[in-house]
């Protein structure tokens, strides 16, 4: 029995990592052939620097993800504070509604936003993509920040107020530093989701506006080149840095909470 379980572990990891490793390995392949190994080179990475369209898409992705992260972190944090700190009439309805953008298939959300945009003066492009990204990001940020607020000790705030701090001072000196790891974690998650999103951007960007994911997709449809492996490897490296940052902040959150106790 143990043998079978161990074989399954091996199988799952093999299945999960072989495709990713294939992309990384072949990004260093010198041949024009996609899947025949011919020799080691950094050439495809050097070629990336000459690709103006790629850099434009990359810059667009960073602008969209940056603004969408800032806006959704603000909205998500205020929402989490309202839900965890107050009791109000539509509280349950609001928390359920907040799960909907996560549950609904991407393509439905994308279509809904597209049919909405064409009836408003909002042009398809930068602004429409940022708004769309905020819709799903807000839900994720709220979930992460709420989790941090749930293990939170109210007596510290009461102590601050007893010692004469006003509401504003209490928030910035006590509440904010305590929930900051949750906020940063939520922001990192939002940024990653934003950079990686394809389906929602594809439908709400209109003609001519491309982010990195949309750029990669159109290249793929055009034909597969070894350069795509190099772009993909860079994006994979970027994701891994963000996961490690996220886990580091979340890990910090649990240890500091243990110290509180």
């Amino acid at each position: 029995m143990k043998r079978i379980l161990e074989a399954n572990i091996g199988l799952v990891f093999f299945f999960l990592y072989v495709p990713i490793l294939a992309v990384v390995v072949f990004s260093f392949n010198s041949g024009e052939q996609i899947s025949v190994w011919e020799g080691f080179t950094f050439g495809w990475y050097a070629k990336l620097f000459e690709d103006a369209a790629l850099w434009r898409a990359c810059r667009n992705s960073l602008i969209v993800a940056g603004i969408a992260t800032a806006v959704s972190t603000f909205i998500g944090t205020t929402a989490a504070l309202a839900i965890e700190r107050y009791r109000f009439r539509f509280r349950t309805a609001l928390t359920r509604c907040l799960y909907l953008p996560v549950i609904i298939p991407d393509i439905v959300l994308a279509i809904a936003l597209l049919t909405f945009y064409v009836q408003t003066p909002i042009p398809l492009g930068l602004v429409s993509v940022i708004i769309a990204h905020c819709v799903f990001n807000v839900a994720y940020v709220t979930i992460v920040v709420r989790a941090r607020l749930q293990g939170y000790d109210n007596t510290l705030e009461e102590a601050a107020r007893d010692l004469g701090a006003n509401e504003w001072q209490t928030f910035w000196r006590i509440t904010f530093p305590l929930i900051a790891p949750g906020i940063i974690g939520g922001a990192l998650l939002a940024f990653t989701l934003s950079i990686d999103d394809f389906v929602i951007t594809f439908f709400t960007a209109g003609v001519g506006y491309t982010t990195l994911s949309v750029h990669i997709y159109s290249q793929l449809k055009f034909g597969i080149t070894p350069k795509l492996n190099a772009i993909s490897t860079m994006l994979l490296a970027n994701s891994i840095v963000f996961i490690l940052l996220f886990l580091w902040f979340q890990g910090g959150a649990t240890t500091s909470r243990r110290q509180d106790v």
Binding site: L5, E6, N8, I9, L11, V12, F15, L16, Y17, V18, P19, I20, A22, V23, I34, S35, V36, I75, T78, A79, A82, Y86, F88, C97, P101, I103, I104, P105, D106, I107, V108, I111, A112, T115, F116, Q119, I131, A132, C134, V135, V138, T142, I195, D196, F198, V199, F203, S213, I216, Y217, L220, N229, S232, L235, L236, S239, I240, F242, I243, L247
Partner: protein, 283 residues
């Protein structure tokens, strides 16, 4: 009074955002699904049920069935691979467990487009798998693997397996081992203890994982598009075509609404099952 004022300030951004950019778009797609198609892509503001009538055409029911059955198979395969995996991981030495868990989380966070693209490299006729098999068997004639339903199925399992493993692991890790010991002390065989103690107690994880896999796969667009090559239609691709090439927005909206209906039915069934599970445990 002051507390109320604070609450409204905190609630305003989220309520504003959800109403304007989530609720209104959903209403908008609902309204669109009852309109007539315009000549050059737009819509004509005439009420019609024609789009919904077209859904019951044999062609679209077939596509719908393919999407649902593919998503069900995907969920079953993920459960079959993921359950023993999570079970073993939950019992692993805590020190190394976190590293293994991190290795499951990494694909969860990496770009879905790239993870799908990776399978093109492997499954192409002149791809890695055929090259490898060709090297082992000299007389190998390359298989046409890409652009088949099998490729789509593999891509979907690959894409969503971490979504199954993580909730299963969360449920199995919390499992009280003393209950299993008690079952075995009372004479249950390990097999019986597994089916009568472990599986029922991990049911919330099984249900959550199944939901997280089924919902995105039933409406998947990217995986069938890249690995199916548009040769086999799934509901996600049909919706995309209505908006990008066929320019029939009202029909695309009706399809989207039906897809959302399937997902909502799935969600309601999930909460029912979860409720039933809690009730039976309370007894």
């Amino acid at each position: 009074m002051r507390r109320n004022y604070q609450l409204y300030v905190l609630l305003f951004p989220i309520v504003f955002w959800l109403v304007c950019f989530f609720l209104l778009p959903l209403i908008s797609v609902f309204v669109y699904s009852f309109l007539a198609r315009g000549t050059y892509g737009g819509v004509r503001w005439i009420f019609t049920l024609e789009n919904y009538e077209r859904l019951f055409d044999g062609l679209y029911l077939g596509i719908l069935w393919r999407s649902v059955s593919t998503a069900l198979i995907c969920t079953a395969v993920c459960l079959l691979l993921g359950y023993p995996f999570a079970y073993y991981l939950a019992r692993y030495r805590p020190k190394h467990r976190n590293i293994l868990l991190l290795l499951v989380v990494v694909p969860f966070w990496t770009n879905f487009l790239i993870r799908t693209y990776a399978w093109i490299l492997i499954l192409r006729t002149e791809g890695l798998l055929n090259n490898l098999l060709g090297a082992v068997f000299p007389n190998w004639s390359p298989l046409e693997l890409l652009n088949t339903p099998l490729a789509v199925q593999i891509g979907l399992v690959y894409g969503y397996l971490p979504f199954m493993i993580l909730p299963l692991y969360a449920a199995l890790e919390q499992l009280d081992m003393s209950l299993l010991e008690a079952a075995q002390d009372l004479g249950a065989s390990p097999r019986r203890a597994f089916w009568h103690v472990t599986v029922p107690l991990s049911l919330p994880g099984i249900l959550a994982g199944s939901m997280l896999v089924f919902i995105p796969t039933v409406g998947a667009f990217l995986t069938p598009d890249l690995l199916g090559g548009g040769k086999v239609s799934y509901i996600g691709n049909v919706i995309e075509r209505q908006f990008k090439t066929a320019r029939d927005w009202p029909f695309g909206s009706a399809l989207s609404f039906m897809l959302m209906g399937i997902v909502l039915v799935g969600t309601v069934l999930y909460f029912r099952a979860l409720q039933g599970n809690e009730d039976s445990q309370a007894l």
